[in-house]
């Protein structure tokens, strides 16, 4: 019940629609409310005030007023923590649906004020807030958000809040980035293995130490140890890798139409798993989807991203 009322009240807070980044917080969209401890503190100060007035005890009164003034100042200070802060960008590596996506929230504050202990959280539930500490003016927070569906993930409203300096008041502001995040399709958990490449040159792929080295190139992270040309490497004092010109026939063809009979989403899942497997195995692959040109053949993280992106953005069946 309490949560519902709170959620209803939140619909009146700014912003009410997604907005392009960067967003600078001004005082119109920074909200400040006392925390529970702040309310306790207020009661404490009020009691002191009443007691000091009643006994005409001036030191007590002065203490109460000083604490009250400090409390109010901490409200202002809490607002100052947020006011002028700019959320410059939000980005994330795409993840398969169902996994947590690590959102990088970049923020900066141009003026010299120290802003400590800002917390970023998803708007409705505020669980597991991420710390955004921008002492020198720039900073970023890393926030995990759940994903459930492939395609564009519309970001929810994010809440950037702080209880600094004294924990008496929480100042918060919402940012609702327009930037959608890409979520890859969920790969099939178990299913048929990767289809073999077609054609007679297919077997050549299996003998990387074969006879026709096309040329040597420098070692790149992820190259198989078997493809390292040890003798030339020893001469050059750096690792060299034999690169073979692969016959087109050895490429794996991931064909949408070949999976006829499967439900729409299952096809996407299976293709997504195959893309991952082909990439992992270091094989060239090509993806053909209906109503668009074939992607590839190629083999690289960029190619994998292109394929998965195309799969993620397939229209719903």
């Amino acid at each position: 019940m309490r949560k519902r009322v709170y959620g209803w009240a939140l619909t009146f807070t700014r912003p009410r629609d997604p907005e392009p980044l960067p967003v600078t917080f001004d005082r119109r969209r920074v909200y400040v409310l006392p925390t529970r401890f702040g309310l306790f503190y207020a009661v404490l100060v009020a009691t002191m005030l009443l007691g000091g007035l009643n006994y005409n005890n001036n030191p007590a009164l002065l203490l109460a007023l000083l604490l009250g003034g400090t409390g109010l100042a901490s409200l202002v200070a809490a607002q100052l923590q947020l006011s002028g802060l700019a959320v410059t960008a939000i980005d994330a590596e795409p993840v398969p649906a169902g996994q947590m996506m690590l959102l990088h929230v970049h923020a900066k504050a141009v003026d010299g004020r120290v802003r400590r202990g800002l917390q970023v959280a998803l708007d409705p539930d505020y669980e597991d807030p991420a710390l955004l500490d921008l002492q020198p003016g720039n900073g970023q927070a890393q926030l995990l958000i759940p994903t459930s569906q492939r395609g564009w993930l519309e970001l929810p409203r994010l809440r950037i809040a702080t209880c600094h300096p004294l924990g008496l008041a929480r100042a918060w502001s919402h940012v609702w980035p327009q930037t959608p995040m890409l979520v890859y399709p969920r790969p099939e958990t178990d299913g048929p293995p990767l289809p073999e490449g077609s054609g007679e040159d297919a077997k050549a792929r299996l003998h990387p130490s074969g006879e026709d080295p096309h040329h040597l190139r420098g070692y790149r992270h992820g190259d198989s140890r078997r493809s390292i040309a040890w003798k030339p490497s020893a001469r050059h004092e750096s690792l060299l890798v034999r690169e073979y010109q692969q016959p087109a026939g050895a490429d794996i063809v991931l064909e949408w139409h070949s999976l006829g009979g499967l439900p729409h989403e299952t096809r996407i899942s299976r293709l997504a798993r195959w893309v991952d497997e082909a990439e992992r195995d270091g094989r060239r692959y090509r993806l053909t989807l209906p109503a668009q040109p074939a992607i590839g053949p190629s083999q690289s993280p960029g190619h994998r991203h292109d394929c998965l992106r195309a799969l993620a953005l397939m229209p719903d069946g």
């Binding site: 392009p20 001004d26 005082r27 401890f37 306790f40 503190y41 404490l44 009691t47 002191m48 009443l50 007691g51 000091g52 007035l53 009643n54 006994y55 005409n56 005890n57 001036n58 030191p59 007590a60 009164l61 002065l62 203490l63 109460a64 007023l65 000083l66 604490l67 009250g68 003034g69 400090t70 409390g71 109010l72 100042a73 901490s74 202002v76 200070a77 607002q79 100052l80 006011s83 002028g84 141009v110 003026d111 004020r113 400590r116 202990g117 800002l118 917390q119 807030p129 710390l131 500490d133 702080t162 209880c163 600094h164 300096p165 004294l166 924990g167």
Partner: protein
């Protein structure tokens, strides 16, 4: 209570800070409690904190410890439940709180309650030490709160202590205008909402009764009782008799205030042609009895004059109070003594002090009708035969007999009591008056300090035609003792520091007491009465509650506005050129031609030109200048160039379509 969030644990650093801050808050309170109580609570606090350092104590252990400590506190503070007991219980609860402090929440509530301790301290004592310690405790507590907020938001490394102190100081300074405005202007209560609980901690002071020998404690108490500032003539020290309780009932051992005269209107007085105008600051005594020089002309404020011209405040003097008074010595004082009052002023218990009675009878037969001759004879005898000392044995059944005929030495209580008994035995109405005599002039602040040790008792005898006349038998013996003319009676001379510093001690004392007096002047004595007269220098004679409230509201609103201004100013663009540029954009936004966030300045200017604005040409030039200032390399006299740019940006106003365009829009 169900906790929504998991407990955020305290790291050792924060735990140390929390405990230290709480201890600093409670320390001044413990110092004010009776020492056994203070030691007990302080000791248990240390023990509990040490025991629960690694992990919280078991709930049962906690309960038992709390109950035991509370029982001990109540047992130690006696049956009377008052402010002291309340404060002691608060301290005890605070001492137990560390036992269950696990997370940030617990630490917060510990600090919150600890903030209450300095408040409780001020209810017991408003001295500078309490004040200093209390404020230090509060500052530490706020710093600890800052640290708690840090770990709650996930910051692991602690801020430097100095940075934290700076942050807290900034906050306090930011809140200070509001606090001060409220302090001076918040309407005070002229009468309290609820009664002031008696402070049970006994402080020796003038009491309503006196039995010879019981003032020894008082005579040794060098703390201030009054501070007096004279306006105009200052009476000589030998005339500074600060009249307190008048005691005329005697039961053979103890003098008490007369029951017969209560409720009667003030006795008739004719005054000498001398007027003393002065202001008295009375340190808190928890009694309603006030003191005044000689006979006050009228009761100041809402105080009340008794029949014997004693002053009573309407409420116990629980805090420092300040009274402006006029006094003068009496020419005649109650010249017609009514029969029952005369009887009461002559009464002696049957059979007491037979030797004194016999002497008085002999003197009476010698002197005949001349009362004054008997008084003179007694004073002569005392002057020649008696000595002043503070070390006297406890009096027996016939105290006056023993004093007059055996010991012949004592201090004011013995002298005044025996003298009055002698007079009464001789048929002269007489009574004991207690109060203070003399005072020490502080040259720094030009005021007189009267200490509790200046407490004195003297006599008044009733003489035909003159009424009550003051007679001070002690002064006949040891004037230097009571009028503060001895060097060793100078304040501070007796203390350890005084002996080390020699003659400089009193100067040091003068300075510190003057500081104290100034603090009193500024803060402690500020009450409803003084508040209402606050604006007298500005010609406003009296502020009533409504006007005061309005003034307070005004001050509070302006302080809040100041805070709001601070928070607005903080988000202001720092660069003046950008600020002027944004202001210019806002002017266009108002007429619906605002720049889009992604629109370059010159593009925007072109769009404005398309909208057929009269000022478009100028805007185009300005936007080009602005762009080159912003993005092109800046040349040497960029300071001058940017100043000119700012000026032009500020001058520019959008002018409506087809208006005569004067170029740079200098019309407004």
């Amino acid at each position: 209570m169900a906790e929504r969030k998991p407990v955020v644990a305290l790291d050792p650093h924060s735990r140390r800070w929390t405990m230290a801050a709480a201890a600093a808050c409670v320390l001044p309170l413990l110092l004010q409690l009776p020492s056994p109580l203070g030691l007990l609570i302080g000791g248990s606090a240390v023990a509990v904190a040490a025991l629960s350092w690694r992990k919280p104590l078991h709930a049962l252990v906690r309960l038992l410890l709390t109950l035991a400590l509370l029982a001990a506190v109540i047992a130690l503070s006696g049956s009377h439940f008052g402010r002291d007991t309340g404060c002691a219980i608060l301290a005890a609860m605070l001492a137990m709180k560390p036992a269950e402090t696990r997370g940030v929440r617990d630490a917060r509530s510990l600090l919150g309650f600890a903030l209450f301790a300095p408040f409780a301290t001020f209810l017991l004592d408003q001295g500078p030490l309490s004040l200093l310690l209390g404020l230090a405790g509060v500052a530490l507590a706020l710093m600890a709160l800052l640290r708690l907020t840090d770990i709650e938001s996930g910051i692991r490394d602690a801020t430097k202590t100095r940075a934290r102190f700076g942050a807290v100081t900034r906050l306090v300074l930011l809140g200070l205008p509001l606090a001060l405005a409220a302090f001076w202007l918040f309407p005070r209560l002229a009468t309290p909402l609820w009664g002031v609980p008696e402070r049970t901690l006994a402080r020796t002071g003038l009491s309503d009764e006196m039995s010879p020998g019981d003032w020894i404690d008082l005579m040794a108490d060098d703390t201030p009782a009054l501070r007096v500032r004279f306006f105009g003539t200052t009476p000589p020290t030998s005339q500074m008799y600060w009249r307190g309780p008048v005691l005329s009932d005697f039961d053979g051992r103890t003098w008490t205030r007369s029951r017969r005269s209560t409720g009667l209107p003030p006795a008739a007085v004719t005054r000498a042609n001398v007027l003393w105008d002065y202001q008295v600051e009375i340190e808190p005594t928890e009694r309603r009895q006030m003191v005044a020089l000689e006979l006050p002309i009228e009761a100041p404020g809402d105080s009340r004059l008794g029949h014997d011209h004693e002053l009573f405040s309407p409420l116990p003097l629980s805090s420092l109070t300040r009274w402006r008074m006029q006094s003068s010595p009496p020419e005649t004082f109650e010249a017609d003594l009514a029969g029952p009052l005369q009887q009461a002023s002559l009464a002696l218990p049957a059979g007491s002090n037979p030797r004194t009675q016999a002497l008085a009878a002999r003197w009476r037969s010698d002197a005949g009708d001349d009362d004054a001759a008997i008084v003179r004879r007694a004073m002569q005898w005392i002057r020649s035969e008696f000595a002043y000392t503070l070390s006297t044995p406890l009096a027996g059944r016939h105290a006056a007999d023993e004093f007059l005929f055996d010991q012949q030495e004592g201090f004011c209580e013995h002298f005044s009591s025996a003298f009055v008994i002698l007079m009464r035995a001789a048929g002269i109405p007489a009574r004991v008056v207690t109060g203070y005599v003399g005072g020490y002039r502080n040259p720094i602040g030009d005021y007189w300090l009267v200490r509790r040790s200046d407490a004195h008792a003297w006599a008044e005898v009733w003489l035909e035609g003159r009424g009550w006349v003051r007679v001070d038998p002690t002064a006949a013996v040891a004037p230097e003792r009571i009028y503060d003319t001895l060097d060793d009676r100078r304040p501070g001379a007796d203390s350890l520091l005084g002996r080390m510093l020699g003659g400089d001690a009193s100067r040091l004392f003068n300075a510190t007491d003057w500081l104290r007096q100034s603090w009193n002047q500024l803060v402690l004595g500020f009450d409803a009465e003084r508040q209402s007269r606050m604006l007298r220098p500005l010609g406003i004679e009296r502020l009533d509650g409504v006007r005061l409230g309005l003034l307070f509201g005004l001050a509070a609103v302006s302080a809040l506005l100041w805070m709001a201004w601070l928070s607005r100013r903080a988000e202001r663009q720092r660069d003046p050129v950008l600020r002027a540029w944004h202001a210019l954009e806002r002017r266009y936004r108002r007429i619906g031609l605002g720049r889009e966030p992604d629109e370059p300045a010159t593009m925007w200017a072109k769009r404005v030109a398309q909208a057929d604005m009269g000022s478009a040409d100028d805007l185009l030039r300005l936007s080009q200048r602005f762009s080159s200032w912003r993005y092109a390399g800046r040349d040497d006299d960029s300071a001058r160039a940017s100043r000119q740019l700012i000026l032009s940006l500020r001058r520019h106003r959008p002018s409506p379509p087809h208006a005569a365009s004067p170029g740079n829009g200098e019309h407004r």
